[in-house]
Symmetry: C2
Subunit: 261 residues, 2 copies
Amino acid sequence: HPRVITVTNQKGGVGKTTSVVNIAAALAKGGRRTLVIDLDPQGNASSGLGLDIRSGKPGIYEVLLGEVGLNDVISPVPESDALFCVPSSLDLAGAEIELVSMERREYRLRDALGRWWTQHPGRFDYILIDCPPSLGLLTINAFVCASEVLIPIQCEYYALEGLSQLLRNIALINRGLNPRLQLSTILLTMFDSRTKLSSDVVTQVRETFPKQTLTTVIPRSVRISEAPSYGMSVVSYDHGSKGALAYCEAASEIAVRGAEH
Amino acid sequence: HPRVITVTNQKGGVGKTTSVVNIAAALAKGGRRTLVIDLDPQGNASSGLGLDIRSGKPGIYEVLLGEVGLNDVISPVPESDALFCVPSSLDLAGAEIELVSMERREYRLRDALGRWWTQHPGRFDYILIDCPPSLGLLTINAFVCASEVLIPIQCEYYALEGLSQLLRNIALINRGLNPRLQLSTILLTMFDSRTKLSSDVVTQVRETFPKQTLTTVIPRSVRISEAPSYGMSVVSYDHGSKGALAYCEAASEIAVRGAEH
Ligand SMILES: Nc1ncnc2c1ncn2[C@@H]1O[C@H](COP(=O)(O)OP(=O)(O)OP(=O)(O)O)[C@@H](O)[C@H]1O
Ligand SMILES: Nc1ncnc2c1ncn2[C@@H]1O[C@H](COP(=O)(O)OP(=O)(O)OP(=O)(O)O)[C@@H](O)[C@H]1O
Ligand SMILES: [Mg+2]
Ligand SMILES: [Mg+2]
């Protein structure tokens, strides 16, 4: 079975999409076959990997509605043979309200993946799911489908405020809809070595989550924020930059730790 | 009637809360009586103004449910006599799903404000509403209640992607639930003068929205990100800093432009 990791944090702008795109690219560069599922109506992960979400082609929305199978929407990613993506679609913005009244509304993604997996066993080593900044039904579908949660935490003050809400939600899902779900990884992002605030957040997070917090910290770096405008990961856009190196280190740390599960 | 401005953008981390807190503080410093309504389950605007959302006291959630009136939850803000806040509460996280099946679900905030306004006419000059990073029922309640929308746009690549979705939603609300609603203000945030990306975004936004885009651009500044850890706006925390000055300029631009409506 592949490792299915959902990258979640209801705080906005903390580096969820940037982490999905760059960890996936780094894993693919290391030869691991990786699939990104873009559950965010913004479609930033899709465009960050060079795909066009305005094409009108079916995407994850149609999969959740049960109109198409996962196999019909898995798209190759230009920058790597080992990297694929199920793109978002603009209609996804209305999905949260539509899902409320559907049957097995929390299991739609898990069921779709389950059906696909029986027909294509062994196809991927990693599946990373990018979530919108909320704890609604799209994120719940990701929680039910995944076995691991990766929480990116920005090295800023507000970033710590919503954490207890997020942990409560993960515990709720673990007790009910998905007993396999665990918080496996915390990744500190946008670290700015010039500010005391950044190092305070790092210290506090390491103390609170000693086991889950990766040693690698992602620095704030202009190359990281420029890469999406070229439809590429920073790993491809500028592989020698400090941002690319940090994401490669984070990916290999995740791969090594996973072997212990 | 007060100017009711909702600060919205479904893209996360673009400076919605930071703009609400600091524009409100700057308006209050200029003698305008200002109320902040915190519609974000994170409660960042509440804590950024020095209030405690874990106190268990009723907040905006209880108002939306109709359990209490607005007057019961308006709290003074420590840093200014002219600044008040209706705080968020942790229960707000579940409100989106709960609101789906309620009567007049899109009008709950507007109705509460309407009832309060008839009893306390002339009490405030400005009401600013902080929204979560989504276009769900909480944000829709803000759209139905407000007469103006202020969109903060971060000077980053991903920031432009979700804009067309947001404009479509505003137009939909304007045609249906609230014909008074208009996009009055666009504020560029986290401008980093060292990067070409920042100035590209500024140019593009000014060209697309020449009338609505404020002349003032908010620079990226460490003092702005430190202020919330003291429960204060940057206007109070460090009134001489470039971040504080920029927000004061933005507030007075908003005040002057409003006089023309
Ligand atoms: N390490 C970094 N250095 C500099 N900029 C970064 C870094 N990581 C992310 N960014 C930029 O910060 C912004 C927010 O990041 P991103 O969009 O990945 O966050 P997110 O959590 O996915 O946001 P949302 O909550 O909207 O989904 C983006 O413009 C991105 O390019
Ligand atoms: N001009 C600025 N300079 C430096 N840091 C800033 C600036 N504006 C905001 N920040 C910081 O960036 C982060 C995101 O800002 P903020 O929380 O206000 O965005 P938001 O749009 O309200 O996020 P959300 O989508 O989660 O509600 C915060 O940690 C904030 O302190
Ligand atoms: Mg994202
Ligand atoms: Mg906010």
